[in-house]
Amino acid sequence: MRRPALLACVIAALAATGIVVGCASAPSDAETQAAATAMLKASFKPRGQAGLDRLDQDETQKLCSEYAGKTLPKDVAARIERANLETIRWPADGTLVGDWKAGEKIAQEGRGMQYSDDPKLPAGANCYACHQLSPQELSYGTIGPSLYRFGKTRGYTDEMRKYAYGKVWNADAYSACTNMPRFGHKGILTEQQVKDVAALLMDPQSPVNK
């Protein structure tokens, strides 16, 4: 609560870096963005495993924030997807799917990466928060599409297994500025966990495909 002068500081800082802030006119979008980012950094404190570095945006986060609520230009989208595709670390052993039962547990688990979570425990992906998967689970969200019968409808092909693994590893590689986290890229899930989630989607024995 001791930050009444903060906004003034931000404006001063902007002025110092050569951005002229007009007194009478509304600030430009870029100026507001810069001020908002500065305000944000002064308004959070590190706690548990969540340090202030989590507010440092990478290029994807920056662009996706900038274009939020607007149409994402095709070339920007292509740029984001290309850059993210390059980050995908494909398994050295060439196996793209693991154990669907482990995948189901990961899909159910909501903990992980919050400052209230134990960083020693493996994180979940909480897929059910946003997607329908196994039909047995009725408590599923609708932010993402239903993935029920994911493999069955798309075919159990190498291409689809690669897509499932890659999508979980870095969703922005296939759909720029998606709501879906980049589980492998951001270190939320391990390679084995990504494989297990891919198995939940692609194993013919998985309840998802029943």
């Binding site: 001020a35 980012t37 994807t60 924030s65 919050q114």
Partner: protein, 271 residues
């Protein structure tokens, strides 16, 4: 016993599946609507309102003063309708403030508390750690029940807070790339079985903003809007939002202003 298990499950989430196959999605949603309706009659938030009114009128702090001269924006001591006009610019503090920062300001200025004391435990945790601010917020906000939201953007600082709050709403960061808009940017979405208001629309902002503060049955506590934002950012995997920070007020300004025109309807009761 049960409560412990409930909490364990909460933490683990994994156990959310207690609904057998025979239950279709439609009836699940209908039955949960029935559950919520059954809770409306008899909201424990009233216990917080009563305690807050007592706190407002009792001489407290080093200066042994009540809060009855606290100016919430409509003049000293005027509580009626005050919440529906907040956040707003306060010249005496030189800052745009929401109710909670204003209450802290009054506790410091009128009652002589230090700011550290006043903000020591803003979010209560059971009978041993009751929050005075939560009770005061329950009382003050209850005095705006039925009053249409009327947040002003007349001043430049209020406009600035709104603009920054809007930017913040779309700011993606953290390990999961989440922004507020990830969950609250589209109509008709839900997380698990929980409906998500689309806060980018007038209807969504109205429905959400006018129903906070609320008694959360999952916690057995009355929770304020600062708490709501704090816990959203926790789940966004951000660091901790500082209580009463500029970002918290800017975001509150953005959402409160978007709710303008809707009758305020809290303290409410939620899952």
């Amino acid at each position: 016993m049960s409560a412990r298990r409930v909490i364990l499950r909460c933490a683990a989430l994994a156990a959310a599946l207690a609904v057998p196959l025979a239950f279709g999605q439609g009836s699940t949603v209908d039955e949960i609507a029935k559950y919520r309706a059954a809770l409306q009659d008899g909201n424990p938030a009233e216990l917080w309102e009563a305690r807050g009114e007592g706190l407002w009128k009792t001489p407290r702090g080093p200066k042994a003063a009540t809060l009855e001269k606290c100016d919430l924006g409509r003049g000293p001591g005027i509580v009626k309708g005050a919440y529906a006009e907040l956040p707003r610019w306060f010249a005496d503090a030189g800052r745009v403030m929401d109710l909670e920062t204003r209450l802290v300001w009054c506790m410091v200025a009128l009652q002589g508390f230090t700011e550290a004391d006043a903000t020591k435990a803003p979010f209560g945790a059971g009978n041993d750690k009751k929050s005075d601010i939560e009770a005061l917020v329950a009382y003050v906000s209850s005095e705006s029940r039925g009053v249409p939201m009327n947040v002003s953007l007349a001043g430049p600082k209020e406009q600035e807070a709104y603009r920054l709050g809007q930017k913040m709403f779309y700011f993606r960061g953290g390990t999961h790339d989440f922004s507020c808009a990830t969950c609250h940017g589209e109509d008709g979405k839900r997380i698990r079985l929980q409906d998500l208001p689309n806060l980018t629309t007038t209807a969504g902002a109205r429905k959400a903003y006018t129903t906070w503060p609320a008694y959360r049955v999952s916690q057995g506590e009355l929770r304020t809007f600062q708490w709501r934002l704090n816990d959203c950012f926790r789940q966004q995997r951000f660091p901790e939002l500082i209580y009463g920070s500029d970002a918290s007020i800017a975001l509150t300004m953005f959402l409160a202003r978007n709710a303008n025109g809707a009758p305020f309807d809290a303290p409410a009761i939620k899952r």
